[in-house]
């Protein structure tokens, strides 16, 4: 039996369940924490005010509009009539809306998967490439990223042009595929979304690739080396080491892609003008525009927009929670 000198007082720590809890700090630090209680809120205030003004106010207006019968005359000053949930009932009982919704969800789902897959592969390739080629690839991707969506769509639209497009020309003259002579790429909805998907994925890959490449450079080499010595192959190393390391990055990038793809507008809108059938190729963003701004029914367009916003927010909240959980662990 030995006795412990009371002069050397160690702070007792405790194990609560499986978590290690820190010893209670001295009184002084507790006071500091209390004083600091207002600081985060003070720091948040300016951003909150800006957000409330530029996001909150229009959002509030949107919600108000969605409860009104609001046409073009109301835009020019006629008082709107309150119809409460009539716009929502109209939208939710309209089969066209569900068609648009399903089309949007499937299309953005496919786009996100393809973007993430190709983006990851390119990021992994960048790790292996010699410096010169990596620079070349980076510059190329930066150019694609910097290209405005409208310009990109117009140029891709020219490439897929029915009469003069380079794609048909190459398929017919180089590969002898006569069925592509004057082939219309946009008239069939599936083929329309194939072209739209190419434009969207092409524009989104650089962001994914750069972000993941930045993450990949942070994966410790020694762990990978150890795994290699243990006989883990390339795919196994990616699945068991790289992916868990980068999981938060993957999550965040996937959410961003999903949100961007769900509300995609420019590419689909511009492509519809080049060709295709509007009613069969509308996605949520374009449908809202068509109902409210082009069609002059701002009430119903507002209702669709609110439903879309709720949808986007619920997806985002789910993923943001996933990310914060990851960080807590």
């Amino acid at each position: 039996m030995t006795t412990v000198e009371p002069a050397l007082e160690t702070a007792p720590s405790a194990v609560e369940g499986e978590r290690l809890t820190a010893p209670p700090g001295p009184d002084a630090s507790r006071a500091r924490r209390r004083r600091g209680g207002l600081t985060p809120y003070t720091l948040l205030t300016p951003a909150m005010i800006v957000l409330a003004l530029i996001v909150g106010w229009p959002l509030l207006q949107l919600i108000v509009t969605s409860f009104q019968r609001f046409g073009r005359a109301q835009v020019f000053g006629a008082p709107p009539e309150w119809v409460w949930f009539e716009n929502y009932a109209d939208v939710l009982s309209d089969p066209v809306f569900y068609g648009v919704l399903a089309r949007t969800l499937i299309f953005s789902g496919v786009c996100v998967v393809v973007t993430m897959l190709l983006g990851t592969l390119i990021a992994l390739m960048m790790m292996r490439l010699p410096k010169g080629f990596r620079l070349l690839l980076s510059v190329g991707m930066l150019l694609a990223w910097a290209m405005p969506a409208l310009t990109a769509t117009v140029v891709w639209g020219w490439m897929f042009d029915t009469a003069y497009g380079v794609v048909n020309h190459v398929l017919v003259n180089w590969f002898g595929l006569e069925q592509y002579f004057q082939h219309s790429w946009l008239i069939d909805p599936l083929s329309f979304f194939f072209v739209a998907g190419i434009i969207i994925v092409w524009g989104a890959i650089p962001f994914v690739a750069f972000t993941l490449y930045a993450g990949l450079t942070q994966v410790p080499d020694e762990v990978l080396e150890a795994a290699q010595l243990d006989g883990a192959g390339g795919f196994k190393r990616f699945r068991l080491i790289v992916f868990p390391f980068l999981k938060p990055i993957f999550l965040i990038v996937t959410i961003l892609q999903l949100i961007w793809d769900l509300r995609v507008f420019t590419q689909v809108f511009a492509l519809q003008d080049i060709g295709g059938i509007r009613a069969l190729t509308n996605t949520l963003g374009v449908y809202i525009y068509q109902t409210s701004i082009a069609g002059g029914d701002f009430g119903q367009g507002g209702a669709i927009a609110v439903i879309t916003a709720v949808l986007l927010m619920s997806i985002s909240i789910y993923y943001v929670r996933q990310v914060t959980k990851e960080e807590e662990l």
């Binding site: 073009r72 029915t162 946009l186 059938i277 069609g295």
Partner: protein, 420 residues
């Protein structure tokens, strides 16, 4: 009454704003800038220069700026810009789109200025398009008419002559396409619905007719179906244009030789004859070979074609309504309108019809304009156009879809919008 209130408010705001701008001098127009929105490239540069020079000569303290807009998405852009605080002062709008804005109170009431702007000399159909509820909001700007452009050598080498009936025209198109595989006997991209209207009308059909307070869409009537079937016949047998293409650049196919005939607004002549090194290049070497005639009707004579054209009004939110009306008066002056006539557009005034000249184009324009017809006069018609219902319909018809079923479905959609 409400509209008067808006106008009064607008005027009050204008006076206040003008007061701010002018400082102490009291001259309300000092430093004023009148923004005129012209749409598309139809208005010749000569006319633009004339408008700016004349206006600034009459109002030395004010400036006039012409901002060119595109036809694409015009209704949407006007809705947002005319309702905003930074509204343009004078705006051109397509004649079929005008009622969407006159009915919404977007334009200044010009009833009192009717006589100064031309009075009964103005094109009656366009005055009607620019009026709402007995008040006059938007004046005619110009009318275009649709003409058939053709390659004289192609028609001659196929042993054909200029058709005199619609059936002959269709047969010619089919014969040209058969004799020149891969080329268009009548170039007709699927989205171009304006060109389909004469077929409906000539067969006795209509797009929609008023039925009491409501509208009754007529595309699925027996007469309209007959017309739509002819449309399908032409699109399938005579046209090699993309089935889902739009009609924005007809000169491209004409100049590279794949289009032998096409029906288009009269100003397309200038697109075809544009210099070869222009931004939108044409083929001036084809001038001798370029023939033109008015689309023939069922029983000979000119067909009832779509009366395309524009109206022009003053924004209710214009900061300088007086100056804007002065600018509008210049636009409707004989001098300005004569420039339109000399460039192949039908002037807004009946008395200036002879400025079109006496050549083939002028004769064809006069023949077509004399028998032109409009889309249904409903304030909601612009929404039918904006929703792309007709574009979709004719793309599907071009694809070889079942005309009767497609027409019935389109009727339902059109009625839903017109009777909303």
């Amino acid at each position: 009454m409400r509209k008067l209130g808006i106008v009064a408010l607008g005027a009050a705001a204008a006076i206040t704003l003008a007061g701010c701008a002018s400082g102490g001098t009291g001259a309300s127009e000092e430093g004023a800038e009148i923004r005129v929105w012209l749409v598309g490239t139809d208005t010749p540069d000569e006319a633009r220069d004339y408008l700016k020079a004349t206006f600034e000569e009459e109002h030395p303290d004010a400036t006039l700026v012409i901002e060119e807009q595109s036809w694409d998405g015009l209704v949407d852009r006007l809705t947002t810009s005319l309702s905003g605080s930074d509204s343009p002062d004078v705006v051109e709008v397509g004649n079929t789109q005008a009622s969407a804005f006159t009915s919404a109170g977007a334009f200044l009431d010009l009833t009192e200025h009717f006589d100064e702007l031309g009075g009964d000399d103005l094109l009656p159909g366009f005055v009607e398009a620019g009026s709402y509820d007995g008040r006059f909001y938007a004046a005619p700007l110009y009318a275009g008419s649709r003409l058939v452009f053709y390659k004289k050598d192609a028609l001659a080498s196929a042993g054909l002559s200029v058709p005199t009936t619609l059936d002959e025209y269709i047969a010619n198109g089919e014969a040209l396409a058969a004799a020149n595989p891969g080329k268009s006997g009548i170039w007709w991209p699927g989205q171009d619905w304006y060109n389909a209207l004469p077929y409906i009308w000539e067969n006795g059909g209509e797009v929609a007719v008023p039925d009491g307070d409501a509208w009754d869409a007529q595309l699925s009537s027996a007469e309209s179906i007959a017309g739509l079937e002819q449309v399908q016949q032409v699109m399938t047998n005579a046209s090699a244009a993309p089935k889902d293409g739009n009609e924005t650049s007809p000169e491209v196919g004409f100049c590279d030789g794949t289009t032998l005939q096409l029906s288009a607004p009269s100003w397309v002549k200038w697109s075809i004859l544009a210099p070869a090194d222009a931004e939108a290049p044409g083929c001036p070497d084809q001038e001798e070979n370029l023939g033109v005639y008015a689309l023939p009707g069922m029983d000979g004579g000119a067909a009832q074609v779509f009366a395309g054209g524009s109206n022009i009004g003053v924004s209710a939110k214009s900061a300088h309504p007086e100056l804007a009306i002065d600018a509008l008066e210049i636009i409707l002056s004989d001098e300005f309108q004569t420039i339109y006539g000399e460039n192949g557009l039908v002037p807004a005034k009946l008395s200036l019809a002879d400025t079109l000249g006496t050549d083939d184009v002028a004769k064809a324009i006069a023949a077509a304009a004399g028998n032109a017809k409009l889309t249904p006069a409903s304030p909601n018609w612009a929404d039918v156009e904006a929703a792309g219902i007709l574009q979709d319909l004719f793309v599907k018809i071009a694809q070889g879809g079942d005309v009767a079923a497609l027409a019935a479905a389109a009727d339902e959609e059109i009625e839903a919008i017109l009777n909303d």
